[in-house]
Symmetry: C2
Subunit: 326 residues, 2 copies
């Protein structure tokens, strides 16, 4: 081995970003001034963007799509829809929907003082954390409401709950458990552990939940990596499943297709979700149209945060409730 990679410090990146975004200097100018190569300036700015060190806020970001939002409220029977514009080519919905969710949360928190809210996990929530402006809510607690997988911090509730709490200056409480119990372990016995019991009691007093969902296909991280091997996507589809919410697989009417799976799921039960005052679902993508509609129909959603493409699909195929396997 030779030299160590030159890890740029936070202070360096901060200074570069200040010159670039506030003083509006060019990258070349900054490089000359700080006596480094332009490449390092360029990379510093890119890293700052990715890691959320610079946050770009747009005032009233969902002003434009009012028509679509109104139609969606009507069609899905929900209280509120937030629709953000998305790039139809190179379609990546995580970032824009995450940004819209972040803006929505900021707005809600400034108006109604949540004491606690629940979070599941997934890339959309991960993206929301990066876009959320730093705040100070010392009386707020972020509660993870779903067990995690072994892989990557976006896919377990620890990374998400602690991430939200970090930027919001709040406390957090995580669910240190897998999303699905291994076969043979008794659910009630498992949940009777002191730490878990205390955590589950917090579900009863949540002011809001941030929900996500997915369909039954390779596009679903849960289906691809999170299911115990005894549970197969084919079996779930046969049973009528079109997607999942909080690890529970639902049919097109939002009813669970497998008591067996439900019994093994470590997380907030759907019955309890109904009782939460604000049920916010962030979800987008053509493959999620079916499960989004099912969740809305069942009453699991007050506010839907999505993009215009998905919004339009939700309206168009008002009658197609097909499970997508692609």
């Amino acid at each position: 081995m030779a030299r160590e990679p030159n890890e740029d410090t936070d202070a360096f990146i901060t200074e570069v970003c200040w010159h670039y975004f506030v003083n509006e200097m060019t990258q070349a100018e900054i490089a000359r001034m700080l006596d480094v190569t332009r490449l390092r300036i360029n990379q510093a700015i890119q890293r700052a963007k990715v890691e959320g060190l610079v946050k770009i806020q747009i005032e009233s970001p969902f002003l434009p799509r009012i028509d679509l939002q109104e139609s969606l409220k009507e069609a899905l029977g929900i209280e509120r829809a937030v629709v953000c514009p998305v790039n139809p080519d190179g379609y990546d919905y995580h970032r824009p929907v995450g940004a819209a969710l972040a803006a929505f949360i900021t707005e809600r928190l400034s108006v109604s003082p949540w004491r606690s809210f629940g979070v599941s996990w997934g890339l959309t929530l991960d993206s929301a954390i990066r876009k959320l402006p730093r705040g100070s809510f010392p009386d707020l607690e972020v509660i993870s409401i779903l067990g995690g997988t072994a892989q990557g911090s976006s896919f377990n509730s620890f990374g998400i709950a602690s991430g939200f709490a970090g930027v919001l200056g709040a406390h957090y409480s995580v669910l240190t458990a897998p999303i699905y119990l291994s076969e043979g372990i008794d659910r009630d016995l498992f949940l009777s552990q002191y730490a878990l019991k205390e955590h589950f009691e917090k579900f009863e007093k949540l002011d809001a939940v941030l929900l996500t969902c997915s369909n039954v296909s390779q596009k679903s991280f849960l289906v691809e990596h999170g299911l115990p091997k005894e549970i197969t996507p084919e079996g779930l589809v046969e049973a009528g499943a079109i997607g999942d919410v909080l690890g529970h697989f639902l049919d097109k009417d939002g009813n669970s297709v497998s008591v067996d799976v439900d019994q093994r799921t470590i997380g907030m039960p759907l019955e309890q979700v109904f009782a939460v005052p604000e049920k916010i679902m962030a979800a987008a993508g053509a493959h999620k149209v079916g499960i989004i509609k099912a969740a809305c129909r069942k009453g699991l959603v007050d506010t839907l945060v999505t993009d215009d493409m998905t919004g339009r699909l939700l309206l168009e195929q008002a009658e197609s409730d097909i499970a997508f396997i692609d």
Copy 2:
């Protein structure tokens, strides 16, 4: 006359910015998608930046300059110094110092709940408003502490106080009076007007003030456009003035050089400023070094927000208290 200029709507600009900053599309892509020319996209983005519709926040913006901040605290005998990096060429301190002030205010508001704070006026405060992220502080009141001039909204307390209140979601109270009384009008009689009396009483309970300052030269808006014609810059310099704070001209020790001028100034008296718990001065530029030091020496400043260039000058010329006329 021919066609009307096509004033882009807020919704249009918002959508363009969303595509550009969140979805990271190129301006050409956005133009193609929305079927307008690239020029209009380009202009929309520029307008959004200037008008503060997009706000770029940098996490912990004054992390880098800790050494300089510590030295300044020591040298000036103040509680806190906030130093932001600045572009030495094409030197414009209003924007970066305004941005730093905005970040500082955001931070302070999230920690200590001010009930009210006072504002003077000037380009630096105007710039701070543009950089300040929208907030909701319904119990906060922004109080203008200085009369205004007839010209431009940045130079009267109405634009500044209402601007701060607007972005912070706060109330405001303005001082509807000129900065200097005309000769012959009795100050006490003038201030006894009901509306003014009520306003002046609020000065006693301020949690913080945002102060600015300037020197005695053409660079000072106050000197160039705000002085009654009986008061000349030459006369003020002869009397020992090196600059002004809240319309009061001070010598190098921070003492007023003209009881006459003070008698005509409509604004918060300096004696009252001393009593405010947080005295924040935002000021930068080589020409302000003298007056900044004088104000600090006199005890008018707890927190100084400035840039690295001015910071370094403040340290270097620890002994030069010259009034700059250039």
